[in-house]
């Protein structure tokens, strides 16, 4: 199947910027396992990754990590 006409839609789909109809059609097409489009979408995800990282990295307060690890340790602790 020739999918070149979808070329400029992959990033927009990943961003949620397509119209609902276009998004539904593309999702259904991908779900049928089109190898060309899956490869292209994976490549498009690289572009979206670049865009998402445009804000400057910001170090969160150390308390946030401590709380996270405490929550996880509580989940994994054996029940008595």
């Amino acid at each position: 199947m020739g999918c070149q006409h979808l070329e400029e839609l992959y990033e927009l789909w990943l961003l949620g910027a397509l119209s609902e109809q276009n998004a539904t059609d593309l999702r259904a097409h991908l779900a049928r396992g089109c190898p060309y489009c899956l490869t292209r979408v994976r490549e498009a995800a690289e572009t979206v990754y670049i865009l998402g990282l445009a804000p400057k990295p910001t170090r969160p307060h150390p308390r946030v990590k401590a709380e996270l690890l405490r929550q996880i340790s509580r989940k994994t602790a054996p029940h008595r």
Binding site: G16, R32, A45, L68, I72
Partner: protein
């Protein structure tokens, strides 16, 4: 923790319930993930809670994610973006503005452009409606002949491979410089799509531009960055 371990090695350990390995991934990626989150959700409590949610999801989903072989960094960024969109939807009554304008070098923010040009209600309200529609659109729907009806923009199946992300990380500064080279109209459209979560048609409404023009701006911006990525990362021998 061994500094030599790759993120994917660490993920495999996380999948075996190694809390220290999760802590190591957090140390490596929390600043960039938090940078994205706090850009969209400036309220510190919301931003910190969202950051914890993202890493809690990593903990919970690590077994399946580890099997897929996708990039941990790309997954974290995709999930963080999904999480802030969910947050905005949940707080639709008081949805925040777009925050500081990352892509533009000029003094005017995209949200200010919107305020100047828009013939429609202010951004936050329509933003919330749009985010609701996105959430709806991303829900898995069964369809005849569909092998994997649950495929979504954040599915591990469509995650970049670790090798590609390492290549990008090494050249991230150069790639972000390319964003600043875009014409202002294109940068604004990109900002509204990436950090405002707006669709092409909503960008048109918000900026007061015809749909075709808004589409052209956004698609041209995305295509430019895509071509730059291919050229800078050596995956495409384009002479641009």
């Amino acid at each position: 923790m061994n500094e030599e371990l790759s993120p994917e090695d660490l993920l495999a350990r996380v999948a075996r319930q190694d809390v220290a390995a999760l802590g190591e991934l957090y140390d490596r990626y929390a600043p960039r993930v938090y940078g994205l989150i706090v850009h969209v959700l400036p309220a510190r409590d919301d931003a910190e809670e969202t950051l914890q949610d993202v890493f809690m999801r990593l903990w919970n989903e690590s077994p399946s994610l580890s099997q897929e072989g996708g990039s941990v960094a790309a997954w974290l960024v995709a999930i963080a973006r999904e999480a802030v969109v969910d947050r905005l939807r949940a707080s639709r009554k008081n949805a925040p503005s777009l925050g500081p304008h990352i892509y533009s070098t000029g003094p005017e923010k995209a949200s200010e452009t919107v305020a100047r040009k828009s013939k429609t209600p202010p951004l936050p309200a329509s933003n919330a409606r749009h985010l609701e529609r996105i959430g709806e659109a991303l829900k898995p729907r069964p369809a005849n002949g569909v092998k994997n009806p649950a495929i979504r923009p954040v599915s591990p199946a469509v995650l970049p491979r670790p090798k590609e992300i390492t290549l990008i990380d090494d050249r991230l500064g150069l790639l972000h410089k390319a964003i600043k080279e875009l014409p202002k109209q294109q940068r604004d459209a990109l900002e509204l799509a990436v950090f405002g979560g707006l669709s092409e048609s909503e960008i048109a409404v918000e900026t007061g531009e015809p749909l075709a023009k808004a589409q052209r701006s956004l698609r041209a911006a995305v295509t430019f960055i895509k071509h730059r990525r291919r050229a800078v990362c050596g995956t495409w021998a384009a002479n641009i």
